[in-house]
């Protein structure tokens, strides 16, 4: 019991002090202290802006196609829009778009199909304001698969157009 009343009094006292109109006594400004020696800035989180890694992480370097298709899916368009805005932000960069196919097709057919894929990605980037002179295309057909297993998952991964920054990226 006793403790409680003491506590109440203390609380009251505090309230009174807070209500007092009298300014608090002025204290001298503390003496300036030496700033700590400049430390190396901590590594920024994520890739350097304008770098290849930045492009790959924040724009996405590849789009995927349906079986025997070279038209762009909604998801592919989204990725290419991000690629275009990145490329428009770094106009000194140049790119190579490589069209690829899964291995479930004959060789020459796939070289032609891979070219169509690269071309459809290129056309979309140009429609988004990327200067055509910055873009080269190549088809690797089915010759450079990302994934070599015999599975539909793998084949789907290999049906792509991969955008590679060939010049002008920050390092």
């Amino acid at each position: 019991m006793k403790y409680v009343s003491v506590l109440s009094a203390a609380v009251l006292g505090l309230s009174l002090a807070a209500c007092a109109s009298k300014p608090a006594p002025v204290e001298p400004t503390p003496a300036p202290v030496e700033r700590p020696a400049p430390q190396p800035r901590p590594e920024p989180q994520g890739p350097v802006a304008g770098s290849v890694q930045d492009f790959e992480v924040n724009a996405g370097d590849r789009v995927f196609y349906g079986y025997d298709r070279y038209d762009l899916t909604g998801e592919a368009r989204e990725t290419l829009r991000r690629q275009a805005s990145w490329l428009n932000a770094y106009p000194q960069t140049r790119i190579l778009i490589a069209g690829n196919c899964d291995e479930r097709g004959t060789r020459e057919y796939n070289l032609a199909l891979g070219n169509r894929r690269a071309q459809s990605a290129r056309d979309f980037l140009i429609s988004q304001g990327v200067d055509p002179s910055r873009i080269s295309v190549v088809s690797y057909g089915k010759e450079r698969p990302t994934c070599t297993e015999n599975s539909e998952r793998c084949h789907a991964v290999n049906r792509n157009a991969i955008t590679v920054i060939t010049d002008g990226a920050a390092s």
Binding site: R104, R107, Y109, L111, A112, R122, D123, N150
Partner: protein
């Protein structure tokens, strides 16, 4: 002798008839229900030493060539009764008939004063006891395999009435593991039976889709030397290479260009090249370096192949949706569709006989190798069906097709070159070291 000849012709006709009757069916090559002709090829006789060793080698290669055609069944040496000691004496035919040898090949090898080999042979019909053909050849000792192939061609031609194809070579793509997971694909060349393999291109760039000139030791192929697919010419005798369009007009030099196939006279190529993202068929004259566009469709027109008279071209195109085969005049113009089945038709190659076009068909996850009449009439005939098929190539006599066959493995597909005859029988793997694909068959070597 007429009987023997006739019986083999009858055999060939029979093969053709059976396969026609089974059109659209997948032919089970393990059935092999037609009897090949039993033939005896004892070791060629020669003085002990080089002559006798080569004599045995040549007989072995002749027998292997004949066996590989599926039309002949060489008899095991163990069964032989007569020992041939002089090919200028008539054999004891009864000794050969009793072991069921319908035909007998005897030969001799001599080392001449200048070190060259003199090889002679005779082909006997054991029933009529008549010599069917005979031949004498001289050669430097290193070329003994070619001598054997020429003799096998002579036997084949005499007994089937058609040119042989054993003294030929095959250019192909040899695949080996690369440093960074990307396989190394190089052109290589070997004898038709897999002997004497050697590389034609380096590890530094990818090489694909070779085609053999019908008139000279020259090939075209697709090189990635410049970073993208480019048609190249390669002179096999000098080793000289050049990009097809290097010195020509730049019509197609910007985009990729694919496999270039020879006109039967060898002076013109048909090739699919890309402009502004679209593939069309072009004609390229090797003498004038003139390039002329033959198709102009918004779809991909690829894989042109000339008819043996040079008058027409077959190619594959996506102009009708999925890839199908089309035939047009060698000067371009209207194209007539010749395939109508479901699935994707690619890799058309015109038979040297002119009547058929070989193709790859892809349908419901399977691949097949087939032939269809060049005018599109009648049913297509499937010669092989499996997990993967690509790049058919005809033997010079149009009786056999080489093709890339892919076998499914959990860690990827294994590619090898196989052959099958026109009736869908005699499926065989070509002996190559490592994986191989994209066969191109030479003409008979002069």
């Amino acid at each position: 002798m007429r009987l023997l000849r006739l019986s083999l012709s009858a055999l060939l006709a029979c093969l053709a008839f059976v396969s026609a009757a089974q059109a659209q069916l997948v032919v089970d090559v393990t059935e092999g229900h037609l009897e090949p002709l039993p033939i005896a090829v004892p070791d060629f006789v020669g003085e002990p030493g080089l002559a006798s060793e080569r004599g045995a080698d040549i007989a072995r290669v002749v027998a292997a060539d004949l066996a590989s055609s599926g039309l002949f069944a060489p008899i095991d040496d163990e069964a032989f009764i007569e020992r041939i000691e002089d090919i200028n004496l008539r054999p004891r035919f009864g000794d050969w008939r009793v072991i069921n040898a319908d035909a007998l090949v005897v030969g001799s090898v001599e080392v001449m004063d200048d070190g060259r080999l003199l090889v002679a042979f005779r082909l006997w019909d054991t029933a009529s006891e008549q010599q069917l053909t005979g031949l004498r050849l001289t050669s430097v000792p290193e070329n003994w395999r070619r001598v054997a192939h020429k003799l096998a061609d002579a036997v084949y031609e005499r007994l089937t009435g058609e040119k042989g194809y054993f003294d030929t070579r095959i250019v192909y793509v040899a695949e080996s593991p690369g440093d960074n997971g990307i396989p190394v694909r190089r052109l290589a060349i070997m004898d038709q039976d897999g002997a004497n393999p050697s590389f034609l291109t380096s590890r530094n760039y990818m090489a694909l889709l070779p085609n053999y000139s019908p008139v000279s030791q020259e090939i075209t192929y697709v090189s990635f030397r410049d970073g993208h697919a480019t048609s190249f010419l390669y002179d096999l005798e000098s080793g000289r290479q050049e990009a097809l369009f290097d010195s020509g007009p730049s019509l197609a030099s910007e985009g990729q260009s694919l496999s270039a196939r020879y006109h039967p006279q060898g002076h013109v190529l048909a090739v699919s090249a890309e402009r502004q993202g679209n593939h069309d068929i072009f004609r390229f004259d090797l003498r004038t370096r003139q390039l002329r566009q033959l198709t102009n469709s918004p779809a991909n027109d690829v894989e042109p192949s000339y008819s043996p008279d040079g008058e027409r071209l077959v190619f594959s195109s996506t102009r009708g949706g999925s890839s199908q085969l089309y035939v047009m005049s060698a000067d371009g113009g209207e194209a007539q569709r010749i395939t109508f089945g479901e699935g994707r038709y690619t890799t058309p190659v015109w038979s040297p006989r002119g009547d058929l076009i070989a193709f790859t068909k892809q349908h419901q996850g399977m691949f097949s190798l087939g032939v269809v009449r060049a005018d599109g009439s009648g049913d297509e005939r499937i010669l092989y069906e499996g997990f993967f098929v690509d790049t058919p190539a005809w033997s010079p006599n149009g009786r056999v097709i080489l093709f890339t066959r892919g076998e499914r493995r959990s860690d990827g597909t294994r590619y090898e070159i196989w052959s099958v005859d026109l009736a869908g029988f005699n499926l065989r793997r070509l002996p190559t070291q490592g994986q191989a694909s994209d066969p191109a068959w030479s003409p008979l070597i002069e």
